[in-house]
């Protein structure tokens, strides 16, 4: 029933072109000088200023304070991505374990309280969230950047789903052998969850790395800027510039997308598994 169909390939190639061309063009253009880009427009030719531009973006001390470098922003992005992913995994594994494996009075209530967080995305409660962070003195801290983002139930549901699929026999056997809840968690549940943890780590890392609105509100000290947050700054400088730094803007865009894209492509199978199984 399978035949080589030319139209299928044409449509797919068109799709690939539409999805990838902007990224490829952005990369090639970033290797030219700003004035050249201004004159000739976007390009698909290699421009010989690759090292220069990327070195400037990563190492030049810029911003209003003259102290923030691209390296620093890269590091902040990593801290946000990894911190968020690890925090999410720890919090939601513990909570899901309690909900699935314990019989206790307030279990259902807690479950619904966690479930409710799915109803309201962070974007609809930004101002009051900001006020709360202000009162807690968490503006311009990594805690303020990461922890509030953890207040959602996505990970908990993912692990709850997974724990429910673990056969009951394991728990029965463990109990006959005299294992308590803590031993069971570390000796059985954690090793069994390895693949799931990897999958959710990738999704959460990408999610954390790509945060924009929250870092924008939480940080006005440039030493806490992430790469994605830094894009806003670039655009603000643009207003009024004679020839905008197109090359550096493209370079920042490439740097900001590279780590998550690499992770998604390399760990593709885990990523798709985690994504399609957790959200359903």
């Amino acid at each position: 029933m399978y035949r080589l169909k030319i139209t299928d390939h044409i449509i797919l190639l068109l799709g690939v072109f539409v999805m990838m061309a902007p990224v490829v063009v952005a990369f090639f253009t970033s290797t030219h000088e700003a004035a050249e880009i201004h004159r000739n427009g976007l390009t698909l030719r290699w421009g010989n200023h690759f090292v220069e531009t990327y070195n400037a973006v990563l190492n030049r001390e810029g911003g209003f304070t003259g102290q923030v470098t691209g390296m620093r922003m890269l590091m902040n992005s990593l801290i946000l991505g990894i911190g968020f992913a690890v925090g999410k995994i720890v919090l939601s594994m513990l909570a899901a374990y309690a909900i699935v494996y314990f019989r206790f009075r307030l279990g259902t209530l807690f479950f619904w309280m966690i479930f409710t967080t799915l109803l309201l995305p962070l974007e609809v409660r930004i101002l009051p969230s900001y006020e709360v962070m202000h009162q807690l003195h968490l503006i311009n801290t990594y805690t303020g950047l990461i922890v509030p983002l953890l207040a959602s139930a996505t990970g908990t549901f993912f692990f709850r789903q997974f724990f429910k699929s673990i056969p009951d026999e394991l728990l029965e056997a463990a109990r006959i052998d005299g294992a308590g809840p803590i031993k069971f968690f570390f000796d059985v549940i954690v090793p069994l969850s390895k693949t799931m943890v990897a999958a959710i780590f990738i999704i959460m890392f990408v999610y954390g790395w790509n945060q924009y609105l929250w870092p924008m509100l939480m940080t006005n000290d440039e030493s806490f800027y992430t790469l994605v947050r830094g894009i806003k700054q670039i655009l603000l400088v643009w207003v009024g510039a004679q020839i905008p730094d197109y090359n550096e803007a493209f370079a920042i865009a490439i740097l900001a997308m590279l780590p998550p894209v690499i992770i998604v492509v390399v760990f593709q199978r885990w990523f798709i598994k985690g994504l399609t199984e957790s959200d359903k």
Binding site: V23, T117, E123, R175, V206, A249
Partner: protein, 293 residues
């Protein structure tokens, strides 16, 4: 739930403590705060606030500006959802049909998923740039003088294009995994009964994909309403004056630029209600009308 469970007076609470603490401080507290301050008028200089009942809500719902933003948000959401769903589905069906190169196509198509909305917005801005943008030059060939950031319609057009581009990979991943979950036996039976590939798709494959499509519909609406913030922000660059913006952007503008705590909170609460209705809709109404196997 499990047939056998542990019981312990303290352990489950201990395991739940970190998650519940975070949710209470960073979810329930701000949410309650939002509802509360939506009934107050804050003094702009910070000298207390006075209870005004539903005045904030009335002010918003009566404002022509808010209505036109709501109208734009609705159209924007409809367009983005429709195009990203249909293009994602088209590519998934084709990627499912070909044997050769299918994993290469897949890898390339999903990679854009990892790009942050504002980064997508930045790249989009360049392609629609007045001086260097190829799209602007292309449109000029047809006599369309595109002015992103100045002309309302042009900016809206660019926002829709970038938002759709960014969302296609997500829909592609889910449709493809949905398609691959359809048993070969079903496809073979359908192939025996019906020779037209297009009709087979409409009558057999699409109904089987309905749960995925339905799930994606809700996700895409939420994406268009909220996650496009980064794209909108990069494209209008804080100058909302003549530009199309979404409701979430308006909450941000009024709250952080306009310092209108009460108005912004009331808008937040209105959005909360929208999301809430959407979720109830998801569980109650639409789920009944899709087939499950």
């Amino acid at each position: 739930m499990k047939r056998v469970q542990f019981s312990s007076p303290t352990l489950p609470y201990l395991f739940l403590l970190p998650q519940m603490a975070v949710i209470f401080i960073f979810f329930y507290w701000p949410s309650v705060q939002a509802v509360k301050s939506s009934f107050f008028l804050e003094d702009p200089f910070g000298f207390g606030s006075s209870f005004v009942g539903f005045d904030n809500y009335k002010g918003i719902l009566e404002s022509a500006e808010y209505r036109s933003i709501a109208g734009f948000t609705a159209i924007f959401t409809a367009l983005v959802t429709f195009f990203s769903l249909s293009l994602g589905l088209l590519l998934a069906v084709k990627a499912d049909a070909v044997i050769r190169g299918s994993s290469a196509y897949k890898t390339v198509l999903i990679s854009v998923y990892a790009i942050a909305p504002p980064v997508a917005g930045l790249i989009g801005m360049m392609f629609f740039d007045q001086h260097i943008g190829p799209f602007v030059r292309f449109a000029a060939l047809f006599g369309w003088d595109m002015k992103i950031g100045l002309n309302y319609f042009d900016t809206a057009f660019a926002m829709v294009v970038v938002s759709v581009w960014k969302q296609i990979p997500y829909n592609f991943i889910f449709f493809l995994s949905g398609l691959q979950g359809i048993p070969v036996s079903v496809r073979e039976a359908a192939a025996l009964d019906c020779r037209s590939g297009f009709r087979r798709f409409w009558t057999v494959i699409l109904p089987l994909l309905a749960p995925t499509a339905f799930f994606l519909f809700v996700i895409n609406v939420t994406y268009s309403l909220f996650d496009t913030f980064g794209i909108v922000d990069v494209m209008v660059k804080d100058k909302a004056a003549n530009n199309p913006i979404t409701l979430v952007y308006k909450v941000y503008m009024d709250g952080f630029r306009g310092n209108d705590l009460g108005g912004s909170s009331a808008q937040s609460v209105i959005l909360m209600i929208v999301v809430f209705v959407l979720t109830v809709f998801q569980f109650r109404f639409l789920e009944r009308r899709v087939h499950y196997n």
